[in-house]
């Protein structure tokens, strides 16, 4: 379970006249195992910020974010690194990789980093590439040369390759055609059926319906 408790978050922009932007005041919600929560609200309201706070990329001003009975807000850097490795998958909006590394290696990396053997990681990655409908002639190329939709699927593969209890998804179905969108939706469903707590941003009504999400409307949540 993910619990977000009484969270305040603001940004102070020192180099822009110390402007202070308050994003959340007293934000509360939770995500149960097997549940898919969709964050809803106009752009700029802080949907991605919530994912980043849970992942530990953003520091919160007040409150607690509890994952695995641990409060992200009070963990040290290496404790967060460990928690990420063992528990939290994060699919960002855009793929960030070093040039020259092949799609296959990009996907295998999280498994190899957790000590999985190469053969096993290879098999799992190949299966996922096939499931995701990525053409075989692309597997050994750097994803930086791929189309937006292909990059997005590699990004998802990298985030989904491990069996982790928590998944954070930042617009996983954006920039995909309907066929590939359905593939991703089914992968997300499969994770959910296995008890994974999922919190995501889904820009389209179709995905939200198909995934049977519980919506959290940030327009309401942030107006206290």
């Amino acid at each position: 379970m993910i619990e977000v408790k009484k969270v305040n978050k603001s940004f102070t922009l020192f180099n822009q006249n110390n402007a202070k932007i308050t994003v959340f005041k007293n934000l509360n919600f939770e995500v149960n195992p097997g549940e898919i929560v969709a964050l809803k609200g106009p752009s700029g309201i802080g949907k991605s910020s919530i994912l980043k706070m849970i992942y530990g990329s953003y520091i919160i001003d007040k409150g607690a974010i509890i994952i695995n009975n641990k409060n992200i807000a009070t963990l040290s850097a290496q404790e967060i690194l460990k928690l990420r490795k063992t528990s939290i998958g994060y699919v960002s909006q855009f793929l960030k990789v070093i040039p020259r590394i092949s799609a296959l290696d990009v996907i295998m990396e999280p498994l190899l980093n957790s000590g999985d053997n190469k053969n096993n990681a290879y098999k799992k990655s190949i299966k996922l590439l096939k499931d995701l409908n990525i053409e075989k002639n692309l597997w050994h190329l750097s994803p930086l040369t791929f189309s937006g939709g292909e990059q997005q699927r590699i990004n998802i593969a990298r985030g989904f390759i491990k069996d982790l209890p928590y998944l954070l998804l930042d617009e996983p179905t954006a920039s995909l055609d309907s066929k590939n969108r359905d593939i991703i939706i089914n992968l997300i469903k499969a994770k959910s059926n296995r008890g994974v707590s999922i919190i995501g941003i889904f820009h389209d009504e179709y995905s939200r319906k198909k995934l049977n999400v519980r919506e959290i409307d940030l327009n309401i949540e942030t107006k206290h």
Binding site: S57, I59, L81, P99
Partner: protein
Amino acid sequence: MIIPLLKVTNLSKSYDNIVGCKNISMSLYPGEVLGIVGESGSGKTTLINCLSGNLEPDRGKIIFNINNKETDFLNISESEKRKFIRTDLAFVHQNPRDGLRLNVSAGGNIGEKLMSVGYRHYGNIRSLATKWMNKVEIDKSRIDDLPITFSGGMLQRLQIAKNLITSPNVIFMDEPTGGLDVSVQARVLDLIRSLVNELNLTVIIVSHDLAVIRLLADKMIVMKNGTVIESGLSDQVLEDPQQEYTQLLVSSVLHV
């Protein structure tokens, strides 16, 4: 509870009246990559020179804990220190010419390093050297060539091979991609990253290039005027910097 591989407490070093670094405290755990950023003169190089034994700090503590053996780096004899530096630490210089002997063959450069930690069998040394040339993507037919015939990128890769071949426990890198042109930079970065993953290396890397830090480092510290002004997970420091100077640094990066 995991014990840090390296624990630094209140480390200070000045040059006469000029502060090099002041009251630095930090921990590094096995398999972590720590990035150090900051403007020229902020004390980055002074810090890693102190940690790697190239400089004697004025005050502070440096404790290495390797395979449950604690080494109080600033309180051991000079000979113990030399041995520790030789076997447990490695230093990759920005300019590979500082870390290589240019009038000794590529294989000789690597072989020397092996001999320094006790390898004696010529055949073993040569086969290990060949294996590492291959690992850093230098054609093995170049093993008897002098480094002066190598390009900048090849020299840097040779320096990396020379440093990693003895499986050191902590690797220091001072702007390892600094002097290389962009396409070569990507290749060296990629190489460092795959070696870090494959061999589970513990690395301290100094760079003024935030993109390099983002791609390689798990944690980072930001230095200014000899002190650490901000530290944390790399993605956190880069995406949600808490200090004015760090915000300036991050917002000054040009995006292509």
